[in-house]
């Protein structure tokens, strides 16, 4: 479907690793079904990094968990298709998924404080994975675990392997989580806001670490974040989500140079920038995310959009490619950078 240029320049052939099409996840709630992810389609090449951006509640986490097939069964329905190297994951039996998890597709969780088992030594939590999947003996698994801890930059890894999670700092724990996720050498890593709750300096370290490991292993990665700044320099493409839908999807450079969707623009305007004078007022996005149980008929962003028209409020804009650039997709009736600007109120141009 989308033919993004292969960043690693593979020797031709089908280099698509992950193909997601029309993915839709709904939860049963007391008020009725809540559609957390709707009509999401994209594909990912081997070795590629895709950034997924959106504010809280935009469906980022549900999306990666739907791709993994990790959502709780009851009351949750996932439809559409997720194909990992041609293997369909949606509706696959749990044994089939278990065989793929960790081996080919792996995940780093949001909160390193709660995603490690408090009563198990961290070394055991790594060897566990190795022993299940690679059938390593106790000793080999232990050696591999220490090696992995060293790879994720943990000093004196042999000693730290015997520590309990309580004894490690947040950054250390996230490094351990990464070591666990990478233990079996997956081809696709889903990193769900891997730096929330960490200091800014540690955030940069963790992201650099992920980037390093990814390039040395030639692994594809989906990096989920609410921070456009995080993905700006570390991704090949960026997918912007709003209310469970993809609203813009473009190669990173082109997204920043030529953003089309007003929501992307608003998201960027709400991020502090170095090239602005200090004390420049950040533009918060007015209003709040829409109700996903009982959505309004039109574009979900319309109530908060400066450029919304009646068409926006009644018809959902489809995700379409830019006429000049097939790799740049957006869902907007009045994309920025086109002559529709006449409709828009003039904005104060500071910055």
């Amino acid at each position: 479907m989308i033919d993004a240029p292969t960043p690693s320049g593979d020797a031709g052939g089908p280099s698509t690793l992950l193909d997601v099409s029309q993915l839709r996840t709904t939860f049963e709630t007391a008020r009725g079904p809540l559609t957390a992810v709707d009509s999401v389609s994209f594909s990912l090449d081997r070795g590629e990094t895709l950034g997924v951006v959106g504010e809280s509640g935009s469906g980022k986490t549900v999306l990666v968990r739907s791709i993994m097939g990790l959502l709780p069964g009851r009351g949750t329905t996932t439809t559409g298709s997720v194909a990992l190297d041609g293997i369909e994951l949606v509706g696959a039996p749990s044994e089939a998924l278990r065989a793929l998890w960790a081996e080919r597709i792996s995940m780093v969780f949001q909160d390193p404080m709660s995603s490690l088992n408090p009563v198990q030594r961290v070394g055991n939590q790594i060897t566990e994975t190795l022993r299940v999947h690679q059938r390593l003996g106790r000793r080999d698994a232990r050696a591999k675990a220490v090696q992995l801890l060293a790879q994720v930059g943990i000093p004196s890894p042999a000693e730290r392997a015997r520590a309990y999670p309580v004894q490690l700092s947040g950054g250390m724990r996230q490094r351990v989580m990464i070591a666990i996720a990478l233990a079996c050498g997956p081809e696709l890593l889903l990193a769900d806001e891997p730096t929330t709750g960490l200091d800014v300096t540690i955030q940069a370290q963790i992201l650099d670490l992920l980037e390093d490991l990814q390039s040395t292993r030639g692994m594809a990665m989906i990096l989920v974040t609410h921070d456009l700044g995080v993905v700006a320099t570390r991704t090949d493409r960026i997918m912007v989500m709003y209310a469970g839908r993809v609203v813009e999807l473009a190669p990173t450079r082109r997204l920043f140079s030529d953003m089309r969707m007003p929501y992307t623009e608003a998201l960027l305007n709400s991020t502090p920038r170095l090239d602005q004078a200090s004390h420049t007022r950040l533009r918060a996005i007015e209003g709040r995310p829409p109700d996903l149980v009982d959505p309004d008929p039109g574009c979900a962003f319309a109530p908060r959009c400066d450029y919304a028209t009646d068409q926006c409020r009644t018809q959902v804009p489809p995700l379409t490619a830019d006429e000049h650039d097939a790799a740049h997709l957006f869902a907007c009736w009045h994309p920025r950078g086109t002559p529709v600007r006449a409709v828009a109120p003039s904005r104060s141009g500071d910055g």
Binding site: P155, Q167, A181
Partner: protein, 292 residues
């Protein structure tokens, strides 16, 4: 350079494995000591130089005060009180441990399963257990034992089954709180099977709760056994149990202080010790959890 950083970090992070045992306080260790002595004495009751607890010696003095030959005196039939109280402890502990094992075995396993699997299984089991909890247990136990006969094995089964609902509820709650934690999802995302997740990720987190309530349940069952023995629904005289010794002492005129005090205090100390140890352990585990 590297080693300096390493040692600095090594200093900053407390060495693993050093789990302090201090902080339980002397009373805790006194209680543990009492329970230890009790356990040893009951296990080795057969080889201790004790008189036969049921034998009425021809030359024995009834209601004798403590002396060198009878360390705690004799009862109204001239039997050695020390020997009878130790054999009584055997009965209490046998029934207590046996019934607790049944309670924890059934209630613990079902509680973990219900909380992990949820859905219909959880619904039906919870309904069943809450019905069980609503039952006035002691009255039901008395009724059942009256019909079924009150052999020791019957007491074990009945008391064990009646302790299942409470244990089920506690273990289910503890499992539920652990099973919804992110580390369980993380373990699943690494390809662990349900059995593995239950055994390696959930059980160690539920184990403290199970241990604590094992101790509380043991205390509760020993107390109930004492009450049943008091009204004659446990082992029958001439065999001794704490409850029937207390019952006997209340019918002896004039009052034999030693016959009354010894089994009462034994029961009292045992219950205090079990509850205190359980409570301290609970606090200890709560503390460890709070730190994580």
């Amino acid at each position: 350079m590297r080693s300096t950083t390493d040692s600095a970090i090594a200093q900053a992070v407390p060495a693993p494995r050093r789990r302090a045992r201090r902080g339980f306080g002397p009373f805790y260790w006194i209680c543990v000591g009492w329970l230890g002595v009790l356990a040893l004495v009951t296990v080795f009751a057969g080889v201790l130089p004790l008189e036969d607890p049921t034998e009425i010696a021809a030359n024995a003095l009834p209601n004798a005060s403590p002396s060198a030959s009878h360390l705690l005196g004799t009862d109204d039939l001239g039997r050695d009180i020390l020997s009878r109280v130790i054999h009584g402890a055997q009965v209490s502990l046998e029934i207590g441990i046996g019934a607790t094992a049944i309670g924890i075995g059934i209630g613990g396993v079902l509680g973990m399963l219900a909380a992990y699997k949820r859905g219909r299984l959880d619904g039906w089991l919870s309904l069943l257990m809450y019905t069980g909890l609503a039952f006035p247990a002691i009255i039901a136990v008395i009724a059942i034992l009256n019909f079924w006969g009150h052999a020791e094995a019957h007491l074990v089964v009945v008391l064990g089954l009646f302790s299942v609902p409470l244990i089920f509820r506690l273990v289910r709650a503890a499992t539920l709180s652990s099973a919804t934690k992110e580390y369980v999802t993380a373990a699943r995302s690494q390809g662990a099977t349900s059995a593995r997740v239950l055994a390696r990720d959930i059980f160690p987190n539920v184990a403290p709760t199970i241990l604590t309530y094992t101790i509380f349940t043991l205390g509760g069952i020993i107390a109930t056994e004492g009450a049943l023995a008091f009204i004659g629904l446990s082992v029958l005289p001439p065999e001794s149990s704490w409850g029937n010794m207390i019952a006997e002492s209340s019918s002896v005129q004039p009052v034999n202080l030693w016959l009354m005090l010894v089994p009462t205090l034994a029961l009292f100390f045992t219950l205090v010790a079990l509850n205190y140890v359980g409570e301290r352990l609970r606090q200890h585990f709560d503390g460890t959890e709070a730190r994580s």
